[in-house]
Every structure is written in C-alpha cells, then in structure tokens.
C-alpha cells in the first residue's frame, strides 16, 4: 500500500514538473526544474525502501545474527546484493540510497540557486520573464 502511494506521488511530481517547465514564465521553469529533480531524488530514495528494520551500522551483536547476505552475491541462485530474495528477512536499510539522495539533493540545490541568479540576470537584461520574448540568438 505504502509503495503504491509513493509510486503515485513520484509519478504525479514528474507530471507536475514536466508541465511547469513547458510554461513560458522563467520562474515557473525554474520551479519545474526543482520539482523534477526532487521527483528524481524520491525515485532513488524509493528504491531503498525494502522493509529493512535496522540502521546499517554493523555492531558485534548484530554481526552474530547476520548471514552475510547483504554483502555477497549468490549468483547461482540469482541473488544480487543488496537485493534480497523474497522470504529472507532483511536486517538493514540500504545505506547507499541515502548517500546517493543526499549527493543529488546537494547538486540540485547548487544548480537551482545558480539558475535563480541567472533568471534574475535574464530579467534585468531583458526586462521580462517571458521566455518567448527572450530570443535574441537567432541565426
């Protein structure tokens, strides 16, 4: 149920973002870009929500109970780490996904702020926020 809701949310966000970047106003385009990049971030994040229970820090106590399934590939049975086959209890949340999402968020923060400054400059130079009027570069 939760996964379905999450998928629908991501799909909606992609739709909203795509709609926004097709508008003519520069600020709407920038906002659409932000929404799109956050929906991509959510998509990465969603691939890690697989029902793990513990934080991925292996203490000695936990290490005794692990079967090592997370870090080894069992290629004969088609098991690919860290994807765990059905029926096996997954102990940890996938830590990689959170690192990836954090990196992507930081990068989208930087590009968005640069884009906002740029749209301010476009407004100052052209005196409009309508992109259909910002077209001096025509060969």
């Amino acid at each position: 149920m939760n996964n379905t809701l999450l998928s629908i949310t991501i799909a909606l966000l992609f739709g909203i973002g795509t709609f926004m970047i097709l508008r003519k106003d520069i600020i709407k385009i920038v906002l659409g870009m932000t929404i799109l990049s956050h929906s991509a971030n959510l998509l990465i994040f969603s691939s890690g929500i697989t029902g793990g229970k513990t934080v991925p820090i292996i203490t000695e106590e936990i290490a005794q109970h692990t079967t090592g399934i997370i870090f080894t590939d069992d290629l004969v049975n088609g098991i690919l780490a860290p994807i765990v086959p059905e029926g096996t209890e997954m102990l940890f949340v996938d830590p990689m996904v959170q690192a990836l999402t954090l990196t992507a968020i930081v990068i989208s923060l930087a590009t968005t702020s640069f884009l906002l400054i740029l749209s301010y400059r476009v407004y100052k130079e052209h005196n409009t926020t309508d992109v259909s009027k910002v077209r001096r570069l025509r060969g």
């Binding site: 870009m33 799109l36 088609g78 690919l80 994807i83 990836l100 590009t111």
Partner: protein
C-alpha cells in the same frame, strides 16, 4: 604499488587543487600564467605516461578509499586514458592561447583560471570513472564550470553579455533536464541490479540475460541513456542548443566545448552501451545510425546559410559529430575504429579552427563574414592555419581529416552500408563547399577596407597564440601523414570495447577489504 597506479586520481585531484590555489593568486597574473602552463603541461605528460603504461601493461584501477567495487573506482582503460590524453592536449593549447586572448580585468583576474581547472577535472573524471553515479557528478561539475566560462569575455568575442546570459540559461536548463533523465535512469538501474559499479552492473545484467530473466525496463534505461548522451553530443533532435550556446563562448572555451565536451556524449555511448547494455545494441545501433545521418544533413544544411562565422562553424560541429556517430552506429569492429579515428582528428582540427576563428574575428573587428575580405595580406599566418583546419574538416590530404573520412567510408562500404555512406559522402561535399567559400571570402581577394590596413595589422596574433596554433597544426598534419599509431590504438580500443572481459576482470579482481 607502482607510481602509475596513482595517476588516475592525480589527473582529477591536481586540477581541483590548483583551482583552489588560483583563486588565491588571482591578482598575481605573471605567476598565474607560469603556474597554469606548468600544471597543464604536467597533466598532459602524466596522461601520456598513463596511456603508454595502459597500452603496455593492461588496465589500471584506482580504488578511492579502498572500498573495492562498493566504493568509487577510477578505471584507466585504453578508451578512457586515450580520451584523457586528447583532452589534456587540447586543454593545454586552449590554456596557452587563452592567456593572451581573454580580457585581463574581467576574465584572467577573476574566474578564468579556477573554472578552467575545474572544467578539466570534470572532463578527466568523466573519462576515468568506473562508477555510474560518479559519472553523473562529474557531468554536473563540467556543466557548471562551462557555464561560468561561457560568460567570460575575450578580445575577439563580439557577443554582448545579453546574448551570453540567454545562451547559458538555455544551456543550463536543458542540461539540468538531461541530467534528470540520467538520474532517473541510474536510479532505475540501481533498483534493478543493486550496484553502481559499471563492471558489476555488466556482469549482473549478463547473468540476468543468460538466465532469460532480463526485465523489460532495462531496454528503456538503455534508450534513456541514448537521450542523455545524444543531448551531450548534439545528436539530431537534440542538437538545437549547440548553435546558440557554443558561439556565445570566447574562443578558447569554444574550442574546448566543440572539441572535447561534445565528445563526452560519444564516449558515454561507447562506454555505457558497449559495457553495460551489449544485449540492447541490436536496438540502439539502428537508432544511432539513422539519427547520425539526419544529424549530418541538418548540420551541413544549416551551416551553409550562416553569415556569422562562429555560428557556421558550430553547425559544422553538429554535422561532423554525425560522422562519428555514423561510425558508431554501423557497428562493426572496423567502423568503430574509424569512428574513434574521426573523433580524434575532428577534436584536433576543430579546436584549431575555433582558436584561429577567435583570432580572425579580433583581426577583422566583426563577426559577419560578408564584411571581411583579403586578410591573407594582413595576416598570412591566420590564413594558413584556417586553411589547414578547413582542409582537415573537409577531408583533403595530407591532413588528418582525410584519413579519418577515408576510414569511415571504407569501413562503411566493407560492412555493406552503401546508402548511408552515399548520403554521408554527399554532405561531405557540402562541408567542402561551405568551408572553402568561407575561407575564400575571409582571406582571398582584395581588402574590403584598405584604409584600415594598419589597424588590421596592429590586431595580429601574439607569439604565444601563434605557438598554440602552430602546435595544433603540427598535430593535425602528423596524424595525416603518419596515422599508423593512431590506427593501432583505435583498433586496440575497439577490441577492448567489443570484449569487455579484461575491464571486468581488472575491476572486480580486487578483494574487498
């Protein structure tokens, strides 16, 4: 651990380190000049040493943080290190050239050196990384640095700031969109196989494919990567931004963008689709082949109608990248070798032509071809360099472009692609026409304004600029008269591409500590 083992990380870390140093040294221009020339020469020598070492002894793998295949790894195989050598050579020339070309107050004393260093770090990172997410990060590094470089001004750069702002707005928005597509593809791939290491993904997808349980969305992911890299390489439906963005950049940056940065797309297609998606090639090859033919046609046809010199050459870049994609799309071993040779020769000749163009525009004081004429009297040096560049792009002997065009057509005929080769040949004649018409208009005939002759002569290239142009010209002629080493290297790279097992063994052979 021998010293070659550390070169991949140095090629990325040294430019980033000096980007920080040059921020602090920005008021000391003489020191900056010497320092940056040394650093870029050092990078070129290091990359050359790496290429020779890889050619002799096999693939070099550097594990950042020693996390094995779970961490970020840098892999220097022949394709990666070869591209790094090419990009180091062109960036060294652009750096030597740019020190005299760029405006002192607004570019050299502010952001030119740091951003150029970061751009080179991004390029080297893209070519060397073995991790899919890391590839995305380096793409962003490259894009942000080149956005900052496009708005800088140089002396032969007659683009007002108004236009530059508009150009980088387009560049950044479209790039962000392509990056989001890439991120979505990477996320889907990670959710499918649970790893980001390219060699590891390759092994796992091969296993899924052998077991017959390849999920259908892997095909979609492969096509999404075509969109991303096609955008970077300016493949036909995604080529429209290039003619606006590249001509707005000052000449050294224009040379880097058109010479190296659009080749990143070709590199990505070769790396991702041959290593990770060899099972989807039956689908991607025809797409690339058809789109490359349209790219050649659209680029050449658009270039003919242009009177703005830089814009015309930008459309020429679109057309030429089509020839590289044609070689990739035809898909036999020989055609891929030909595509790689075309890539190298085009990168050299095009960056030389763009550097010469920047000086020509400064010399003429305008960027409209119709207002120029007779400059062979006032600057025979520029006329020679421009002619050599045009000859190489148009494919006339004894320049490198002749050999490149010859092997592309020869390999295409050998593989039985008669109609595509015929179309490409037709547009090669277009290329010859528009480049030589331009050269004749600019340099041949009478001076349009004889009373300004002393002004033109006063705006001649400085010795440093001449050195950079002459070195590039030597390289272009060298690969024209003696292409055997390049051909041997390209064949070896293609062999590695078609059989990625050594790459996979080198990456996954190490133990996880």
């Amino acid at each position: 651990m021998d010293m070659y083992h550390n070169i991949p990380i140095l090629l990325v870390a040294v430019p980033i380190f000096f980007a920080a140093i040059t921020v602090f040294l920005r008021s000391r221009f003489k020191l900056q000049k010497a320092l940056n020339t040394t650093v870029f020469a050092g990078l070129f020598i290091m990359s050359l040493a790496l290429l020779l070492h890889v050619w002799e002894n096999g693939i070099v793998v550097y594990e950042v943080g020693e996390w094995g295949k779970y961490g970020i790894i840098l892999v220097a195989d022949l394709l990666g290190s070869g591209m790094v050598v090419l990009s180091s050579f062109i960036s060294m020339m652009a750096m030597i050239y740019g020190q005299d070309y760029m405006d002192k107050e607004t570019a050299l004393d502010t952001t030119f050196f740091p951003l150029f260093n970061i751009m080179v770090a991004g390029l080297n990172g893209i070519f060397l990384t073995g991790d899919l997410f890391n590839l995305f990060v380096f793409f962003e590094v490259l894009v942000m640095a080149s956005c900052g470089l496009i708005v800088l001004t140089g002396r032969g750069d007659h683009t007002p700031m108004l236009y530059k702002i508009e150009a980088i707005f387009k560049y950044l928005v479209l790039n962000m969109f392509s990056i989001i597509v890439m991120l979505t593809a990477i996320a889907s791939l990670y959710a499918t196989v649970g790893t980001l290491n390219m060699a590891d993904i390759s092994v796992k997808l091969a296993q899924l494919s052998a077991a017959g349980t390849m999920p259908w969305h892997v095909y979609m992911i492969a096509l999404m990567f075509i969109v991303v890299f096609g955008y970077k390489a300016a493949m036909f439906p995604l080529h429209f931004w290039l003619a606006d963005v590249h001509p707005s950049a000052p000449a050294p940056i224009h040379a880097m963008l058109s010479g190296m940065v659009i080749k990143v797309g070709i590199y990505g297609i070769l790396r991702i689709h041959y290593l990770i998606f060899p099972d989807v090639l039956f689908l991607t090859r025809p797409i690339i082949l058809i789109l490359s033919l349209v790219t050649i046609g659209v680029g050449a046809a658009s270039a003919i109608g242009q009177y703005d010199l830089k814009r015309m050459l930008a459309y020429s870049s679109v057309s030429q990248i089509g020839y590289v994609l044609l070689g990739v799309g035809m898909g036999s071993v020989y055609t891929t070798t030909a595509a790689l040779m075309y890539l190298v020769n085009h990168a050299m000749a095009k960056s030389m032509l763009f550097l010469a163009t920047g000086e020509t525009l400064y010399h003429a004081g305008t960027k409209d071809i119709r207002k120029m004429g007779g400059f062979i009297r006032t600057s025979p040096f520029l006329a020679t360099i421009f002619l050599m560049g045009s000859m190489s792009i148009a494919g006339l002997p004894p320049m490198g472009g002749f050999i490149a065009k010859f092997v592309v057509f020869d390999s295409g005929l050998e593989a039985g692609f008669y109609a595509p080769v015929a179309i490409a040949l037709l547009f090669a004649i277009f290329t010859l026409f528009y480049l030589f018409r331009t050269w004749m208009t600019i340099f041949w005939g009478e001076l349009k304004e004889p009373e300004n002759e002393s002004d033109f002569i006063a705006r001649s290239p400085t010795p440093q600029i001449k050195v950079a142009l002459a070195l590039l010209a030597v390289a272009v002629i060298f690969f024209g008269v003696y292409p055997e080493p390049l051909f041997a290297l390209a064949s070896e790279i293609t062999a590695q591409l078609f059989d990625p097992q050594p790459y996979i063994d080198a990456v996954l052979g190490g133990q996880v500590r």
